[in-house]
Amino acid sequence: MRRVIIDPVTRIEGHAKISIFVDEAGQVVDARFHVTEFRGFEAFCRGRPFPEMPGLTARVCGICPVSHLLCSAKAGDGILGVRPPPTAVVLRRLMNLAQLIQSHALSFFHLSSPDFLLGFDSDPASRNLFGMIRANPELARAGIRLRQFGQRIIEHLGGRKVHPSWAVPGGVRSGLTPEAAADIREQLPEAQATTLIGIDLIKSYMDRHPEDIAVFGQFPSLYLGLVRPEDHGWEHHDGVLRIVDSSGAVIADDINPVDYSRHIGEAVEADSYLKSPFYKPLGYPAGMYRVGPLARLNICTGIGTEAADRELREFRQRAGGIANSAFLYHYARLIEILAAIEFIPRHLDDPQLTADRLRAEAGVNQLDAVGCSEAPRGTLFHDYSVDPHGLITRVNLIIATGQNNLAMNRTIAQIARHYIREVRTSVAIPEGFLNRVEHGIRCYDPCLSCSTHALGQMPLVVRFLGPDGEVIAEVRR
């Protein structure tokens, strides 16, 4: 068997490489998204007082600290055995919506839309944000401002854009000032207008390129995420877990996130530090499931806001029901931004927002606790055990990127099978093919810094390896 290695994928976080396996006849048979560095964060946390965990885990990754902060604080709530005051819950939800906005805006406008505007076969030197600025300067600037809007909300709440140690076990440290709330309100119309332009862009692209929907990760899988307990609607911070299959049938419902380990197993492959979670009843790898925007829209009964629900209906109409193509992650991200923009004023109008009580106080009341929330890339679990003094004895983090690992492998294989008919010695890999493989990964917007706690960046390297592992061709970019 031969391997085609793409090392690493550009424009995603962390250091990873891709191997594409081909048989003796030169046909693509499998693909693997490797992760090659490990930071040992779970071991590092042992012995730490659990109240430190939100601040520590927020430093897992400089890209999505807010997701870890909030999830860790929820695990801390569990150790204390308390429910945060309603005001703290509203404030945490506001911050999570802001995180969705800024992260999705980065994924769509900075990283992915150059491919839509400029094409997969365009020169990689210009197929970037600057090329996009040349092609559509107003959209590029608006996309940047949309991300800034999300960051600004986070700053209003947490006081710092990065690693805001604001959420704590039992609640939050500070509220939202009326001036900050007014500032957020003022920016909502522009944020919504930008999002709608983005939605028009992706729908127009999909109309012109239906093959991308068919090729970029179009296969049946399970979908997992949080839903609102009362109506199984779209949820991003609290709620219960739901799992649906590729036909939309609900196969597990109303799962308390605390019980996640009864339903989710974690496989470890020898060639990757990225754990591969799977749905236990179906085993590994048949229990492959996807998380993130695509999953959240597939599992929910509805979103609960006017514009986002309108788009959700079109999303489902275009997908023919359940959306099984990873390419639709892009569309789903924009719908989620829209939902966030619609939910934010509801939270700002919530009378609880201005109450004084922000934090529930307690000692250690539970020795095991699980925090669960929806990070932009998917469902995030922080599972802690502590001793009676509150010192961490065990940590397990299940990260969105890991949960999509199996699906990313399959997406790469599908793209490779479609665009490479036969791999032979000294074959030239077309630039467009590499771009498409990278984009297939970017559909999931993985953050490997989170998933493996890895650092490191390298240029793009493509290697062909023969049946005995020898490099028979190499391409660098």
Partner: protein
């Protein structure tokens, strides 16, 4: 407008990677300086960079043998990952805001990046020198 901006970046949990933030912490509160400490460079920093006349980035460097001072120019090569690099941010500031600040990178030699290790004694010594160099760059820049 604050014309002199110093940005220290690195993960403060990872040993010598905290060198950039450590330098900037020593400069916090100096008159005429705006300081920022971030774990990674992200695109929206371009706005603050565009508002400055001088920008000094301070970062740990695995390859530097001595404290290095490197003149930066805008780079339109999009970096790997969600994070940015100084040249890319300068290019964003140029393209988006028509800003052309003078920019330097102060590279602090660093070797130990173990999680929770703290800054090594060797890098600590370089931090003192890097702090003086960064301050000198800023003070020599006319307001």
């Amino acid at each position: 407008m604050n014309p002199r901006l110093v940005i220290g970046y690195g993960n403060t949990l990872r040993g010598d990677d905290a060198a950039g933030p450590a330098v900037v912490r020593r400069l916090e509160g100096r008159p005429g300086l705006t300081t920022m400490i971030v774990s990674e460079l992200v695109p929206e920093l371009a706005e603050a960079i565009a508002a400055a006349g001088l920008v000094v980035f301070v970062d740990a460097s695995e390859t530097a043998e001595e404290v290095e001072c490197i003149r930066l120019v805008p780079s339109k090569v999009q970096p790997v990952g969600h994070s940015s690099d100084p040249g890319y941010l300068l290019a964003l500031a140029e393209v988006l805001y028509s800003a052309h600040p003078l920019a330097w990178l102060v590279a602090v030699p660093a070797r130990e990046f173990q999680l929770g290790a703290g800054i090594s004694p060797r890098t600590q010594r370089f931090i003192l020198e890097a702090t003086r160099l960064t301050e000198s760059l800023c003070m020599n820049y006319p307001c």
